[in-house]
């Protein structure tokens, strides 16, 4: 109940009128000119985001990756951002060789001896540190066109990547339609520890020089607001890779053609060009408070890999500061045409061969979620993102030979990833 005596109405009208006149009588020129300059002297709209990724593949790789991102917004709509990330990777990755039924011993490039127990997929231990720096500059041109240019540099023990990208987005039909066109180039250098081996050889070092890999990509995207609640987007991209595309430490087993016992192993070899294409459709539907994201992506490349990705996310807003966003993702890919479980002793060597599981037939299911919250009276937003990924391939391919039929050639791998993020402005 309002117990205070209501103010006399005429006083209200007069007060409003006086206040409105005070506002309107400032010369127009002053307003227009003072606006941008004086606003610049006020608080700097800087923002810092900190995230930490903890990633683990059961019995294989684990990654710890802290990332710091700094964003500076400028008065005229421009923004500059820089991101620094550090990855600490440790663990073991499958070498590509097949299990033998016996203990297998190999000597690595650095002279270390690696032993795999009988019947398990051989893996090679590794540890690496990678740091990455990304920067981008976004600038509006008038009211409907925005350009972004970016740069990227990353380096680890045996790999360096340098890239640049550019993108232009324009809003049409009263901002209901947005068209984005972009492209980028990357110049990567691979310098395998110990030198580069010849493809499909028994690790013969043929060069100690570094190897180049270049990537160029283009993308086009269209997004359209269909109704007050629904937005649809379609994107297409194509990328051309050229140069040293082989994984320097991956191996292919050579098997006894009848018993299936691995006799030796050879380095893998991949073609030196690859064109990757994808198209993706996505939809965002806004319920009263909640959001449903869904997307489908089809990917194909000149190595013969085809993949389908279906993504579903539902964001439930508990109140203005807390939300939960469960995620479900299905991914399936077919094998590259030079993917092989193992080569047979005595057969002529193919032009290309790889047993890298990432080039084989693969299915993954991802279940996860994001929980976002903000504490009252404490600045900034927190997010916790957790995902469990179950990856499986073809455990018993029909063409497995001899002892290989007894082993699980593509044991399902459980991968977990947890990301903790904190974002605040200052």
């Amino acid at each position: 109940m309002q117990l205070e005596k209501p103010k006399p109405p005429s006083a209200l009208r007069d007060a409003l009128h006086t206040a409105a006149l005070a506002l309107l009588l400032v010369p127009a020129a002053t307003q227009a000119q003072t606006a941008p300059t004086t606003a610049n002297t006020s608080d700097s709209p800087d923002r810092i985001d900190v995230t930490s990724l903890f990633y683990g593949e059961q019995g294989r790789t684990s990654i710890f990756e802290p990332v710091v991102r700094f964003t500076h917004l400028m008065q005229d709509g421009q923004s500059l951002s820089g991101q620094f990330g550090l990855d600490v990777i440790t663990g073991a990755s499958p070498t590509g060789e097949l299990p033998s039924g016996q203990v297998q011993t190999r000597t690595s490039a650095s002279g270390r001896t690696i032993t795999s127990s009988a019947g398990t997929l051989p893996t090679a231990p590794f540890s690496d540190r990678r740091f990455a720096f990304d920067g981008d500059w976004k600038k509006p041109w008038g009211r409907v066109v925005t350009s972004t240019i970016g740069g990227h540099f990353s380096r680890e023990k045996d790999y360096q990547s340098l890239g640049a990208s550019g993108m232009i987005a324009t809003d049409l039909e009263h901002r209901l339609l947005t068209i984005t066109i972009g492209g980028g180039v990357n110049r990567d250098t691979v310098f395998p520890v110990g030198g580069t081996t010849a493809g499909l050889s028994s690790s013969a070092i043929i060069s100690t020089a570094s190897n180049q890999k270049s990537v160029a990509n283009v993308l086009i995207g269209v997004s359209r607001v269909m109704s007050r609640r629904w937005m649809l987007a379609v994107n297409a991209s194509e990328s051309h890779e050229n140069g040293y595309l082989t994984e320097p430490y991956k191996l292919v087993s050579v098997l006894n053609p009848t018993s299936g016992v691995p006799l030796t192993s050879l380095t893998e070899k991949r073609p030196s060009t690859r064109t990757r294409s994808s198209v993706m459709g996505s939809s965002v539907y806004h319920f009263t408070q909640d959001l449903l994201y869904s997307s489908y992506r089809y990917y194909w490349d000149t190595w013969g890999i085809r993949s389908h990705t279906l993504d579903l996310k539902y964001r439930h807003q508990f109140d203005d500061t807390t939300y939960l966003e469960p995620l479900l993702r299905f991914y399936t890919q077919s094998a590259a045409n030079f993917y092989t479980g193992g080569l047979l002793q005595g057969n002529p060597l193919p032009d290309f061969a790889s047993s890298d599981y990432r080039l084989g037939a693969l299915n993954t299911i991802t279940v996860g979620g994001t929980y976002g919250l903000r504490w009252n009276d404490f600045p900034g937003d927190w997010t916790v993102r957790a995902q469990l990924i179950r990856q499986s391939g073809n455990s018993s391919p029909p063409n497995a030979i001899g002892v290989q039929r007894r082993f699980d050639l593509s044991p399902p791998v459980n991968i977990y990833a947890v990301v903790v993020g904190y974002s605040f402005g200052y």
């Binding site: 009208r13 206040a19 409105a20 506002l23 309107l24 400032v26 006020s42 400028m74 203005d320 600045p379």
Partner: protein, 276 residues
């Protein structure tokens, strides 16, 4: 301004008309860019993301804040530029969905101009609170554009930004500009009233298209900053004529917030009004 905008000038000089239109357009865009809460590159965004830190504002923003402060004081807190956060709880889509009491209560903690420290030119907004000039920005833009046009022409004109307008002068032959007031159920199709406007502002508050239905009652999109709920039993639309568009707009909003008492309220104010 997210709505159709027009400028009518009674002149035989086409170039003059084009120039005046360009002035109005530029001014409208400038104000929209500067005060829109939908942009991430303006002062309003920085104020709303200041997390409790003091922000120094420019002279124009300071004057608008002063105006809003006057409105807050004169309306016993019914006109509050910090009430925009309440919109997060509501979606006025014509459905019957209303937010939970809990979510509205939580948002109400972040509403209240009296909790803001304003000492020209420094504004300190407690973390979690937001300001929004949406309730006065369009009317302000109308008045500014009209002021600028008036400095350049002696012709009679109308500046109309989405139904909030300012009229100056009588047309040739002592005719007036006719302004129609919409039938809210048939926006843009039929006018219920026709007013003869001379110099001054005209503005309308109403729920023409954005509403929810709750327990059989239609609730419009204008929220009461004290309860966090739409005003019940409010008129469909309230149109007020004032000396400026800002004055007219503020009065029509305040009257609308009175709900069933809108008519009495405006009668006491002794202003020209039309209620549908």
């Amino acid at each position: 301004m997210a709505s159709p905008c027009s400028v009518l000038v009674e002149t035989d000089d086409r170039a003059e008309a084009a120039e005046l239109l360009a002035i109005a357009e530029e001014e409208a865009r400038r104000i929209e860019l500067k005060f829109s809460r939908y942009r991430r590159d303006n002062l309003v965004y920085r104020i709303n993301h200041s997390e409790g830190r003091p922000i120094e504002v420019d002279e124009e923003t300071a004057l608008l804040i002063d105006y809003a402060t006057t409105c807050y004081a004169m309306s016993d807190g019914m006109f509050d530029i910090t009430s925009g956060v309440l919109r997060r709880a509501w979606t006025f889509d014509g459905s019957t969905r209303v937010p939970s009491r809990h979510s509205v209560q939580r948002l109400l903690k972040h509403v209240g101009w009296s909790r803001v420290q304003w000492s020209n030119p420094t504004l300190t907004l407690p973390a979690g609170m937001e300001i929004d000039f949406g309730g006065i920005g369009k009317e302000y833009a109308v008045d500014r554009a009209a002021t600028m046009i008036a400095q350049r022409t002696r012709s009679s004109f109308v500046v109309n930004f989405g139904g909030d307008l300012f009229v100056r002068g009588v047309r040739r032959g002592d005719r007036t500009w006719g302004v129609g007031i919409d039938d809210p159920t048939r926006t843009g199709e039929s006018a219920l009233y026709r007013l003869d406007a001379t110099t001054g502002g005209i503005a309308t508050s109403g729920d023409a298209r954005r509403f929810v239905v709750y327990r059989g009652k239609r609730l419009g999109h204008i929220l009461n900053p004290k309860t966090g709920w739409p005003v019940e039993d409010a008129p469909r639309s309230v149109t007020v004529a004032g000396r400026t568009c800002l004055e007219a707009g503020t009065l029509s909003t305040l009257a609308y917030l009175q709900g069933p008492r809108a008519r009495t309220y405006l009668e006491e104010l002794a202003v020209q009004f039309w209620i549908v």
